[in-house]
């Protein structure tokens, strides 16, 4: 297992950006338990953070390192600030392009990652759930599987109805600036009406396999359920789970990511002996 903190020059964001990566490259095998590790090129999961988050969120709050090792999968965690992974903001920073196009491109140059669609997955929670959905469907030629947890669902009234709360992220002006418009009504960014998905279906494009889940105590549950019903009505195949008693936090995402890793088609989970070799730089 290699734990990597990297920074590189991004052409989508026009500046140097940080990423954190986990590579399942171990040949050291404590007490020789378990089979030999996978050989490169590695299957890859791009993991997105939520609002307020950074590239270290997943590592700090979940067992993603151990899971990546057991599942023999490379995990790439970018940092995308509070910009909802969109291209539409007013400051010229293309977060959508960064996640969907540049990140796979650069990380495949950087590491020995598979460049096959069937080996490339994207997942996120909250704002990252929205980002994973949008990036996964917009760059459907790159990603074969999309998993969204506790997603923020942009709907036509989201930007205009949002009330000004004490937290800056609930500020209406901020959101309108991020999306570069007063309302997402009728745009690709409107996840509620899933214009992007409809377009892919009508164009008979191969759409990614979709996994959605949300905790029943999450204020975002209603919107997620509505999207699930909408997708069902429109014949979009997907898995949807409501997890009883879970709220909008890492207690949920830390457990759910294990289910998502089981759902992804990347061979069998292996058992590995360990003796305190969890890494961190």
């Amino acid at each position: 297992m290699a734990f990597v903190r990297a920074e590189f020059m991004s052409y989508s964001l026009k500046r140097t950006v940080p990423i954190t990566a986990i590579l399942p490259c171990d040949t050291a095998n404590f007490m020789n338990i378990g089979p030999q590790p996978a050989k490169p090129p590695y299957k890859t999961l791009y993991l997105l953070h939520g609002i307020y988050g950074s590239d270290m969120d997943w590592v700090a709050n979940t067992n993603i390192q151990r899971m990546a090792r057991e599942h023999q999968i490379a995990v790439i965690m970018p940092a995308a600030e509070n910009h909802f992974y969109t291209d539409k903001n007013n400051d010229g920073e293309k977060y959508g392009e960064f996640i969907g196009k540049e990140l796979p491109e650069v990380t495949r140059r950087m590491f020995q990652l598979s460049d096959k669609r069937e080996d490339t997955y994207i997942c996120g929670f909250s704002m990252g759930g929205y980002g994973a959905f949008m990036s996964g469907f917009k760059y459907h030629g790159t990603f074969s599987h999309v998993a969204c947890m506790s997603s923020v669902i942009m709907n036509p009234s989201y930007l205009s109805d949002i009330t000004v709360q004490p937290t800056p992220m609930n500020d209406r002006e901020f959101h309108q600036s991020v999306f570069g418009c007063k309302s997402v009504d009728g745009t690709e960014e409107d996840l509620c009406q899933a214009a992007l998905v409809k377009k892919l279906l009508s164009d008979k494009k191969e759409i990614p396999k979709l996994f959605m889940s949300v905790g029943t105590n999450d204020p975002l549950m209603k919107a997620n359920r509505e999207l699930h019903e909408f997708l069902e009505k429109n014949g979009v195949e997907h898995i949807y789970r409501e997890r009883e008693g879970y709220f909008h936090n890492f207690d949920f995402w830390g457990e759910e990511i294990a289910e998502i890793l089981d759902w992804l088609p990347h061979g069998e989970k292996i058992v590995i002996g360990d003796s305190g070799n969890v890494l961190g730089v």
Partner: protein
């Protein structure tokens, strides 16, 4: 330039080892422009840090990173933990095996690096210069070029060390432990003796080329000159620079890195001479005359005198 700080499980040391890696995987290109494919898979320089430093030193205190980008080469920086990059049966600190096996395999496993010896180099500063010479001369099938910046070629220092601390950091007992010998008499011609491998490799077809430099205010200058002479006598091609006013410091390391990259960049720097004409003449390490200089070194190694 992508800068990576990472760690991995070393099979040899049975613990996590940290590295800095500079990888020219990103390039600022105009929108929809193509990323350059030049030098891919990447050529690689494994760079070893000196005493008291760790993997972060060379990148932070010299222009190693910038040059890696300029020359489109991957640089992997390894710390030596004051262990002199040897294999010790006594302490289990098998740094030579760790680097030649674990680090090389690991970096080739996760990055897109060339596996060719022509594209793989090893270098280091001070203690790292010793490590680069030892490992580079032992494994010429992996490394084609060796860079020693103010190299601490401490064969004699090891042999003459006492239990008193002098200007060096370690006592005889500590050196013996690191060299994996109960008695210092066992060290000469052991696997940790770079002169053993220098003699062995001198007879091979795949003899690495060597770049050396040292400051003229550096206490190690006589040691470096002796090593250079030993290598010339064995028939190695040695490029050699002495920097005026430079002591044993990152200043020398930085100047050496600059010159070493110019030397490395060229598959055969005599044929690629035009590259040399573009470099700035900045006094203390003016390299305008590399062609002549290299030939003089080569002639000297063959006992030829030129006027």
């Amino acid at each position: 330039m992508a800068k990576l700080r990472l760690n991995f499980m070393s099979e040899v040391l049975h613990r996590a080892v940290s590295l800095d890696v500079f990888l020219p995987a990103d390039h600022m290109v105009l929108k929809d422009g193509l990323l350059p494919e030049k030098n891919r898979p990447y050529k690689t320089l494994y760079f070893l840090e000196g005493l008291m430093g760790n993997f972060s030193g060379p990148g932070d205190y010299s222009r190693l990173q910038g040059y890696a980008e300029d020359y489109n080469i991957c640089v992997v920086v390894i710390g030596g933990e004051n262990k002199w990059y040897q294999d010790s049966v006594l302490s289990g600190d098998n740094f030579m095996e760790m680097i030649s096996r674990d680090v090389v395999n690991f970096t080739r496993r996760i990055f897109r690096l060339s596996h060719e010896r022509e594209d793989t180099y090893i270098g280091g500063f001070s203690m790292g210069g010793h490590g680069a010479a030892l490992i580079g001369l032992r494994y010429p099938e992996i490394f084609s070029k060796i860079i020693c910046l103010s190299g601490a070629f401490h064969r004699d220092v090891f042999l003459e060390s006492t239990e008193e601390l002098t200007w060096d950091l370690q006592r005889r007992t500590e050196y013996q432990t690191l060299l994996g010998v109960k008695d210092m008499d066992e060290y000469p011609d052991s696997d940790n003796d770079y002169m053993k491998w220098a003699k062995r490799t001198a007879a091979l077809d795949i003899r690495p080329e060597i770049f050396m430099c040292c400051g003229d205010k550096d206490d190690l200058l006589p040691i470096d000159e002796k090593f250079r002479q030993d290598m010339l006598n064995l028939g190695y091609g040695v490029a050699w620079r002495v920097y005026e006013g430079a002591g044993h410091s990152y200043y020398t390391c930085d100047l050496g890195v600059e010159d070493a990259f110019k030397w490395l960049r060229l598959e055969n720097f005599v044929e690629n001479y035009p590259y040399m004409t573009i470099q700035a003449d900045i006094g203390v390490h003016n390299l305008n005359n590399w062609n002549t200089w290299y030939n003089l070194e080569k002639d000297a190694s063959q006992g030829i005198k030129r006027t």
